[in-house]
């Protein structure tokens, strides 16, 4: 293959290999950005891409992916794992959601060869990596700025069999909660889905603080999804086999106008009415009624003014809230999902 992004290992070879993608910086010294990649492959079976660190400050999946490279040996694999533990390496080093250039890689898809480096990398994923695999596990979290109920989530794609495969993959994470969201046309999952791939994605907490249960959920969910796909040895567990109650699925699909190519994403549902220091009155994972105050914003420049409440704009489960306390007027602040039954989700596209 001839692509400006080169790879130091043979992605089609058997065994365990660790190398890097080399993404040209586009500077005249020929320098490149190094992006670690590993393959663990053995015989027949599906090819699965495991990726994390699309946003640099979302470390939960990056650590689980690194542990996968360290702990999984080829004899445990039937098929092929391609693991990219930190896609946005420079953003991860900078503890930043975005690349140092300001690019949001999850708004750089499908990418183009004559674009800036983030779009060239996106093009490599779109035209080289995605076609090479059957399934994709793409791990996100709320990063430094947001706290999201730790879970796997999905876009409700139109194709009934793809929707069912993605639902079952999402459920295999065995998190207490799942949710449905709407992605913009320039998101990584949108492009992978358009190629018919089964993609399982996550929001593993965030807010710059990774608790032990979240690390545990990242690892148990990732390995169970890989078993569910049949690429990793071992028995698939379900919430039922673990003695847990069924997971609850929430619908956070926005009206189309709330999903913009430049938007902050999920948090755009409820925006901060004023700027100031936000005090959370509820936590993600709590049920709220429409109109209920979920936070109040204390005036910063005028402390003699009373605080302004942020109201839930629908009844349901608080799925995510801005974690960073200082907010600016109009900033995406929170989102709430309404319960939906899995049968209803499948029935939407049944023939």
């Amino acid at each position: 293959m001839s692509h400006p992004v080169s790879c130091t290992i043979d992605l089609g070879a058997d065994g365990k290999q660790v190398g890097e993608f080399r993404l040209p910086r586009g500077t005249d010294d020929g320098a490149f950005v190094s992006i670690p990649v590993a393959t663990i492959a053995n015989g027949d079976g599906p090819a699965v891409l495991v990726s994390a660190g699309t946003h640099g400050d979302e470390y939960e999946g990056q650590i689980a992916a690194r542990r996968l490279i360290a702990d999984v040996e080829p004899e445990q694999v039937s098929g092929r794992l391609i693991v990219v533990p930190t896609i946005s390496t420079e953003a991860a080093r900078a503890h930043s959601r975005f690349w140092p250039s300001g690019a949001n890689l999850n708004r750089s898809f499908p990418g183009r060869l004559d674009g800036p480096p983030d779009e060239v990398l996106a093009h490599f994923f779109t035209t080289v990596l995605f076609p090479f695999v059957d399934m994709i596990v793409e791990m996100h979290s709320g990063g430094a700025g947001s706290w999201i109920v730790p879970c796997s989530h999905m876009c409700a794609v139109d194709d009934p069999s793809q929707r069912k495969a993605m639902l079952e993959g999402m459920e295999a994470w065995n998190s207490d909660v799942h949710f449905l969201y709407t992605a913009g046309d320039n998101y990584l999952p949108t492009i992978a889905q358009a190629q018919g791939k089964t993609i399982v994605s996550t929001e593993l907490g965030g807010a710059g603080l990774i608790s032990r249960p979240v690390h545990a959920l990242a690892w148990s969910g990732l390995t169970n999804v890989l078993r569910h796909f049949g690429v990793l040895e071992g028995e698939v567990v379900t919430r039922a086999s673990l003695g847990l109650p069924p997971a609850r699925i929430y619908d956070a699909r926005g009206a189309d106008e709330t999903v913009t190519e430049l938007g902050s994403g999920l948090m755009d549902q409820t925006r901060a009415p004023v700027g100031g220091i936000a005090e959370a009155l509820v936590m993600p994972g709590e049920m709220v009624e429409r109109g209920q105050p979920i936070a109040r914003i204390w005036g910063f420049d005028a402390p003699s003014q009373p605080p302004v409440d942020v109201l839930a704009d629908r009844t349901g489960l608080v799925l995510g809230m801005r974690a960073r306390a200082f907010v600016t007027p109009g900033e995406g602040f929170a989102f709430v999902g309404e319960p939906i039954a899995r049968e209803a989700l499948l029935a939407e596209v049944s023939v």
């Binding site: 080093r93 503890h95 710059g208 690390h215």
Partner: protein, 339 residues
């Protein structure tokens, strides 16, 4: 004397006033510009003067919210004495979600300050020479900020004077947190609490969690603790509670005075905490491990506890540089040993 920091509030007047401190702002976009630091004074009759401070570090919002709420809700008729509140000491840092000032200054390393120094030292000098001398009690609310997850607690320096030590211990305990912590300065001088302690004040400080988010229970601890401490020192009406009167078991005091228990990273990497603040730990047990950004083929390096005890702090930002503090452990100590 003309001090570079001016105050629009008459601190000797009874009643409730909200105004600001102003001092020269060095900017390219306005001449004769000032930085405002908001200040409130709620005073009524005889009683102690209590200085309530927060936002010393900008990204530590727990105390800022509690102090802003105090400024809103506290009325003179509830007060015996005087409560002076500065809810956000470092406003530009608070807006930027950073620990330090945009100039790079760490306000909590700026004391005693200097009226002829840069703005942070001018403000520190105003606290040192104007506000501290009129106060009996100084409350300075911190947390782990973005970078650290601290056991939510009130904490103290173990000062030498036995009477001051006892008063500070009792003030710390009046926060009614599950944990308290005894700390030392291992990272430079010029701390706000040290200056207040040197002036003989009853100083009460906190570490209200941190890690880049503030869960609602932490806001409640900030508010309940602050109010109870104000009742404990007699400036706020109402009866002070104790953990016993609340039906809670005694708090655990963690001794953090051994500098070996502050563990730093041996090299750059990506930190995964395996234990959390409050977890018991044995000497030699891994508290976390370091993954290597460029070397996924390298096994993670385990970082081990230097002692038996309790995890007090873990680094919240996984990306780590050599020499960054990644965790702190401490050992429980009985209050009688302290006195």
């Amino acid at each position: 004397m003309s001090h570079p920091v001016s105050c629009t509030v008459d601190l000797d007047r009874p009643g409730k006033q909200i105004g600001h401190l102003a001092f020269p702002k060095i900017t390219n976009t306005a001449g004769w510009a000032s930085t405002f630091v908001h200040i409130g004074c709620i005073a009524n009759g005889d009683g102690p003067t209590v200085l309530v401070l927060a936002g010393n570090h900008g990204d530590e919002y727990e105390g800022q919210v509690a102090a802003l709420r105090l400024l809103q809700e506290l009325q003179p008729e509830q007060v015996h004495g005087r409560v002076i509140v500065i809810p956000v000491l470092s406003p530009a840092a608070s807006k930027a979600n950073t620990r330090n000032w945009p100039s790079g200054a760490n306000f909590n390393r700026s004391f005693p300050g200097n009226p002829d120094g840069p703005p942070n030292e001018q403000l520190a000098d105003f606290l040192t020479r104007v506000l501290f001398p009129m106060a009996d009690v100084v409350i300075d609310m911190h947390s782990g900020g973005r970078s650290a997850w601290f056991l939510p607690c009130s904490h103290m320096h173990v000062v030498d004077d036995p009477i001051q030590r006892k008063a500070m211990l009792e003030g710390m305990e009046a926060w009614c947190s599950d944990w308290h912590y005894l700390y030392i300065d291992v990272n430079g001088h010029g701390l706000l609490p040290v200056e207040a302690e040197n002036q003989g004040k009853l100083v009460i400080t906190t570490e209200l969690g941190g890690g880049g988010r503030v869960p609602a229970p932490i806001h409640r601890l900030a508010w309940s603790g602050l109010n109870n401490v104000l009742r404990h020192v007699g400036v706020l009406e109402g009866e002070a509670q104790t953990r016993a009167s609340l039906g809670l078991p005694p708090a655990v005091i963690i001794d953090g005075r051994d500098p070996r228990n502050i563990v730093v990273s041996p090299e750059d990497g990506m930190w995964e905490a395996m234990l959390e603040p409050g977890d018991p730990v044995r000497e030699g047990e891994p508290v976390g491990r370091l993954w290597f950004i460029d070397r996924p083929d390298r096994p993670a390096e385990l970082l081990l506890s230097p002692c038996d005890g309790t995890v007090v702090v873990t680094k919240a930002i996984p990306v780590t540089e050599q020499g960054d503090s990644v965790f702190v452990v401490g050992t429980p100590i009985d209050r009688s040993e302290l006195l």
